[in-house]
Symmetry: C2
Subunit: 484 residues, 2 copies
């Protein structure tokens, strides 16, 4: 690696580091308002600001223009850096070990929402705010960073990265300039967050809970300020349904939201969103019925919890209203299906995402048709536009990597003595950026009992899943490092 | 469907039915030798022979020439017919229900080897022979029927079918005429079986056990004549190592064996076989070490059992020497990996098969290379020959179907109250034609406890897996039935 590449990467990391620390000022504000002791947090915060600031000043004359490879390496490093930048304040504020802090922090920035804390409600408000802020930055990062910030540096790299992160699904271009798109994504992201938090405030939350839950909802992160998660508001259907709707909105391609802001709702009429809503309704109704027949609650109460749960899992948010792992195995099977699906591409949701299932099912139909009519000419079409063989291939490769990663992590945990359900669902919950699984990592449990090594493996799983495999896999390729 | 197509299919089914019944004569011979009562088996057998014979005589002037669609439909029907033709004699000989007989029979013909009998050693020898014969016909069916018998009818259909069953992996053509290849496959199949049974006899088995185990080994079926499976010969390393080697041989492409008969061993030098042997060694050594450190046995004893177990699971045979599910979770994790791999294409083994993993890993490398060097021209090569994008696509589709089928069956079982490990491993063991899984379907357990519906679902899973998904999925396509 030459000097120029190194400076490019360092400057990029410093820039992101500064943004993260700037956002962490909300922790200071929270501590001030609630009069909380924050140990050396202020010193850490100020030191980081100065550190990143000095780097930027030092290289102020260096024109940062990342090559594709540099951008890929930077994006990988940025998530690890985020993990460290979040781990230290968590250590200072809640006195956890570095590994615990790193796990929680990576879980925050990747919007996974798996936690090592057993009693959330007991945490200082500044620590709760820190976790929510990590979600919010991470969610923004996923939809904006790759085509936003990077487009300021190098449009080619950002385009390529977007391609690599969306793995073959070409983003619909609504503005010729990516920079403009990035700014609009920011606006929409902030707007939806504000809308959600105002509604939550009106419906009965205090400002603190409203802000934190809005952050965790729009980023599909799932950290709550309460040990009972949204179950704290179990008798407030307004809050639960509002959150159900906003999780669902956050699982939709944000390009559609930009269009909607202009009064154009065509973004919601594509095949992916239609299937997404359809699957949400089918799974929610199924879960309502299965749960209703084994509970003594009213149908409305059960429907509220079932629709909330499917929305939470399908969008990979991971909030819970009740311990749904107690609803019986048929209910768990339905929720498990939602775990394997995920939201829409271009949203904050994780998982394989609906569009990839559509591509694979259309590919099956295509393969059969090709076999039956070998001489006919046709292609796989999404929203009436043909997609290339290579795109289909990369989707097949995505599923292969998704299954391989989950299988390897699950077998690793199983080999270390955990039960089958805990091993499998912990892997899927982390790699899919969902948060809670089943077994010992259910919605009312936490990840504290894993060993340090296991926590690091799961944290790496979160990053691999969040960067959709290829971005990380690339680093293992010899071709990547050749003539870097 | 017109009259001609109907007669084509009926004649084909009658021909296969007659071959099956002809082979079932071994049951009569067994009963005669051991002087066993066989109820109405003789009447059933004679009736079937006459029934199929009459159909063939009735349509003797009809020139059977199956179209591609007719061939696909026939192959699907032939496995269901096999299930029925095996179920009835099992009912007569062992007094089980039709569904139990059907499950056992489909398990036999698909060379799965999952059983509903709790005490194998107590079964009449005629029933044991019946089960082994079903394996042997099934194994032969899988490698020969599709390119053998069907090639007598219509080379195009057989080629097409071979393509559909091998899903995209073009078989290496070693003789220009498929009919000739089919005959050679027969010869090799019989030869290896005889070689195995003679060795087993010399090493200490009686003729009956030797014949049965040779049938179950070469077909990678896994039905034994003993409740302890090969554990009955636990202190006879000769028998165990012979079986280890012959299972391994049966998991290799039979085209390689044909070549080897002519003194040309190049068939074993392809990428798939190399990886297959390599993975076998790595997994076996790993299992030996893991098992050795938690047992009090000699290293040789543990190695014998570990190599045997990996050979048995990797080739999807399903024999056991000991209850390996008691070797601890690390050992189970290693065995689980073997369950997900499978043998070579063109062998009697089930599972996804090594070649498909090679294709997927090379595709990953290809995708990364294509991303890094968008203007360079290269392709995915297997054994130095380039393979088409569409072939890679169909392999991706195969894995997608493999995962989907297993997931749906596992979730179905789980929703019905079984534990996670039982649900998942029962699905993988049936769809992969392995036989034993873990949990309640471990190597010393059986499938009797499932309900009738669950047994039928699992039996269908075996057929879907055996026909490698596409052949069955084809029937669900509207295009298939259009202008049949
Ligand atoms: K989440
Ligand atoms: K088997």
């Amino acid at each position: 690696m030459d000097r120029k590449a190194l400076i490019n990467i360092i400057k990029f990391l410093a820039l992101v580091g500064l943004i993260i620390e700037a956002m962490f000022s909300m922790v200071l504000i929270t501590a001030k308002i609630y009069n909380e002791k924050i140990g050396y947090f202020f010193e850490y915060w100020l030191g980081s600001i100065i550190f990143f600031g000095l780097i930027l000043i030092l290289f102020r004359k260096h024109h940062m223009k990342l090559s594709i490879k540099e951008a890929i390496l930077s994006v990988n490093l940025v998530w690890i850096m985020g993990g460290v930048l979040g781990a230290i304040p968590l250590m200072l504020l809640t006195h956890v070990s570095f590994v615990d802090g790193f796990f929680e922090s990576v879980s925050g920035f990747t919007t996974t929402g798996a936690t090592i804390y057993s009693d959330i409600s007991d945490l200082p408000k500044s620590a709760l705010m820190l976790r929510s802020v990590m979600h919010w930055i991470g969610g923004m990062g996923i939809i904006v960073l790759s085509i936003g910030l990077l487009s300021l540096i190098n449009p080619t790299a950002s385009l390529a990265l977007f391609k690599s992160e969306a793995t073959g699904i070409t983003p619909e271009k609504i503005t010729p300039k990516l920079k403009q798109t990035a700014m609009k994504l920011w606006q929409v992201y902030i707007l939806i967050t504000i809308l959600d938090l105002i509604l939550l405030k009106i419906e009965g939350m205090n400002w603190f809970d409203a802000i934190n839950h809005a952050f965790a909802t729009i980023s599909t992160g799932g950290f709550s300020t309460k040990s009972e998660s949204l179950g704290y508001w179990i008798h407030n259907p307004w809050i639960l349904w509002t959150t159900t709707i906003f999780m669902l909105l956050s699982g939709i391609n944000f390009i559609a939201h930009i269009k909607a802001m202009k009064g154009d709702f065509s973004g919601f009429k594509n095949e992916e969103t239609k299937w997404y809503i359809g699957l949400f309704l089918v799974l929610s109704v199924a879960l309502t019925l299965v749960h209703y027949f084994q509970s003594n609650d009213t149908l409305f109460f059960d429907a509220t919890n079932a629709f909330f749960t499917i929305s939470s899992i399908l969008t990979t948010t991971g909030f819970a209203t009740l311990d749904y792992s107690q609803w019986g195995q048929a209910a768990i099977a339905i929720i498990f299906m939602a775990m394997l699906l995920g939201g829409n591409a271009g949203s904050t949701a994780g998982g394989p995402k609906i569009i990839r299932y559509i591509v694979m099912f259309k590919n099956l139909k295509f393969q059969i048709k090709k076999f039956l009519f070998p001489n006919a000419i046709f292609s796989v079409k999404i929203d009436k536009k043909p997609i290339s063989m290579n795109t289909i291939n990369s989707v097949g490769a995505f599923f292969f990597l998704y299954i391989m990663t989950n299988t390897i992590i699950a077998l690793y945990l199983y080999a270390n003595g955990y039960d089958t359900m805990t091993s499998i669902s912990a892997a899927i919950a982390c790699v899919g950026n969902i948060g809670p699984g089943f077994g010992h990592v259910g919605p009312v449990d936490n990840f504290a009992f894993f060993t340090d090594t296991q926590k690091i493996v799961l944290a790496i799983g979160m990053i691999i899943g969040r960067l959709e495999f290829f971005t990380v896999l690339m680093l293992l390729s010899r071709d990547f490092w050749k003539k870097f």
